[in-house]
Symmetry: C2
Subunit: 386 residues, 2 copies
């Protein structure tokens, strides 16, 4: 049976670039920006980094992606590629290496430079895969879940819109978000259609960015930093499915997300996530994704999410704030960076550094990513806290 | 300072496909073949695999690469991509996860399906990289090292040829090698020129294949298997260079290989590798690579390798047998598989299962990979033993 590394590793510094259309910056520039902020926050010199992990879907290759821009000559650097969970899985592997006793100071970074790559950054990167993305796009695949969910449970485009409104409201308070303007339910519902029922404002944008974390053994954290968070749980679940309509799949569940969350909940001792978690950053690549995740992560029963949305449970002032950063919806989704950007939000909130977005209480924060399409996901979870 | 996981994890089963032109098999087929053999060797059912790592340069994407063919639904699978060190780095990360206490039974696999991809599997996969492989090919880049080394140290094409002859002789005894025929010094020296001084028989072929390992905590190994090997040392060193001629680089050293070996030697308590190691599987992508590695891995002083070759030190009957499997030269080099295929040779030799290739004594075996081009390498090392 799987064990745990709960409370044995700590994050002593983090960094995150401004997310957005970073035409002026290369992928190297973004990595340097995020890693330098993380190292500076931790009070660690780059030469003291013993090993590193870098997550990217398609913006570079091999450990060179990080050694060259950061001048980490002959340092062991692993490139992790795990679709939209690349960043969280880079973090996960870095945590294992520290918990194993092999290293004491490691860096986990994630980035993506999507604007220069145009669509190469998304769908077509999988063109060589035997089944994946051969006949569909992200919005097209998730629209299948949206039509099915709305039809089955009587949710409406307005319920989806309320999620976009919430995340844009939060994002307006996040200086690192791609979009910092609020939107209304009316604007979301009347936005240009992308793949029915998803309109432009139901979709996350195409964004450049990077984020990074410095990780050490928890029993040594205080030697390095006054403030830090502990890693409480790590989950990863990868589908064996093919993401095709011919699969026996109902489009109402993301079972990989449930499986990954269960791993992390078990490690962190969480039996009632709605009450025990203080913040969740989850993978709102589309508004429907967030709606279904409320249920699959165990915050409410299947089909109940619309009522929870109407009740404001996941608002910043609600019982379980979700995506206080603005989520993928407002921050954007530079693929390899996203998981670490979510952990960054949790880190800031737990340490009381979230500025205007600061929650009154935040002792336990979860980051959750979902890579792929319905029927074929890589789901990742990281829980950090005091 | 870096620590160690020496003797804390064990390999209880391994598998390796026949390497070669596997037109009849997909990448999925190859992975299933190698993983099934490894699981069967370990006496482990696929459903007992708690987590996995899969190394591939370009033959698939994300953890899906392994979950789908092996039907490991919702299992955590990380794809590691680290150039020609992808397989050894997948193994390394799997070892860390077991040593961390998170998992007790994990799988590390590596594969590449190169024949169907043609050159996509090699040079052009890096076409998007800002500097790498923009103006050169593998043979072209290593020919720079060969001309420089031959000119500086007075080695000859015959010294290189003797390495090819040795590895083909070993490969002829390996049922899983791509090429199983012996060659003569004369044949190697007069083979079709590829990039002077490297001819066709100085170069490894383009090959399909997969290899896999089942890894558990060493203190539980005996519960699972009667025979196993322990992991003694793991090294990885990634260059911050650009692999371009304009770099300040002498083409006579592979410093990344030295750095990675030093990490593993320190962990395994090796101060005199020539005498302490019983077998080395090293990265002979070209004959010149093997020649330079004799020096950079510490078997002899710089410039001395040709004398050691003439003295037969690295023959199967010599003081330190190198590439008893036949190496990349005879086995071929399916990129993501190579590191694990080397560990497989060490595993077989240590357990006395190497058939006609069996060494009289083999208690400590090293696998060593080198990804990239001179001036820009990812070097990996894994040492296993009793």
């Amino acid at each position: 049976m799987a064990g745990s590394i709960t409370d044995r590793v700590a994050v002593i510094g983090m960094g995150c670039t401004k997310f957005g259309e970073r035409w002026e910056s290369s992928g190297d520039d973004l990595l340097v920006e995020a890693c330098t902020e993380a190292l500076s926050d931790a009070g660690i010199d780059a030469k003291d980094v013993e090993a590193a992990w870098v997550g990217t879907l398609s913006s570079s290759m091999s450990g060179f992606a990080l050694t060259r821009p950061m001048k980490l000559d002959n340092v062991p650097v692993t490139r992790v590629e795990n679709a939209c969970s690349s960043g969280i899985d880079a973090f996960r592997n870095a945590c294992f290496a520290v918990a194993s006793g092999m290293y004491d100071v490691v860096l986990a970074a994630g980035f993506e430079k999507l604007k220069d790559q145009n669509v190469r950054g998304l769908g077509t990167v999988y063109a060589g895969h035997p089944v994946f993305f051969s006949t569909t796009t992200g919005p097209g695949a998730f629209s299948l879940a949206a039509t099915r969910y709305l039809g089955r449970f009587g949710a409406t485009k307005e319920h989806l819109a309320k999620i976009a409104v919430k995340n844009h409201r939060n994002g307006a308070m996040n200086p690192k978000a791609h979009f910092r303007r609020e939107v209304t339910v009316e604007e979301v519902c009347s936005a240009f259609p992308i793949a029915y029922p998803l309109g432009l404002l139901d979709c996350c944008p195409t964004t450049d960015g990077a984020a990074a974390a410095v990780i050490v053994p928890a029993d040594r954290a205080r030697e390095f930093a006054k403030e830090f968070v502990r890693v409480k749980g790590l989950g990863l679940a990868v589908s064996a499915g093919t993401g095709q309509i011919l699969d026996d799949y109902d489009y109402l569940h993301f079972p990989e997300a449930t499986a990954a969350a269960r791993q992390a909940y078990d490690q962190a001792g969480i039996t009632d996530p709605l009450r025990q978690l203080d913040l969740v950053e989850l993978h709102d690549c589309f508004t429907i994704t967030e709606l279904i995740l409320y249920e699959d992560l165990g915050f409410c029963a299947k089909g109940e999410a619309k009522r929870f949305v109407d009740d404001g449970v996941f608002e910043r002032e609600g019982e379980l704030p979700v995506n206080t950063s603005g989520g993928l919806k407002a921050c954007g989704h530079p693929v390899g960076a996203t998981g670490l950007r979510m952990i960054y939000e949790g880190y800031q909130q737990v340490l009381g550094r979230a500025g205007r977005r600061q929650l009154p209480t935040c002792d336990l924060a979860m980051a959750q990513t979902l890579g792929g399409i319905p029927g074929m996901f890589v789901a990742g979870v990281a829980i950090v806290g005091r």
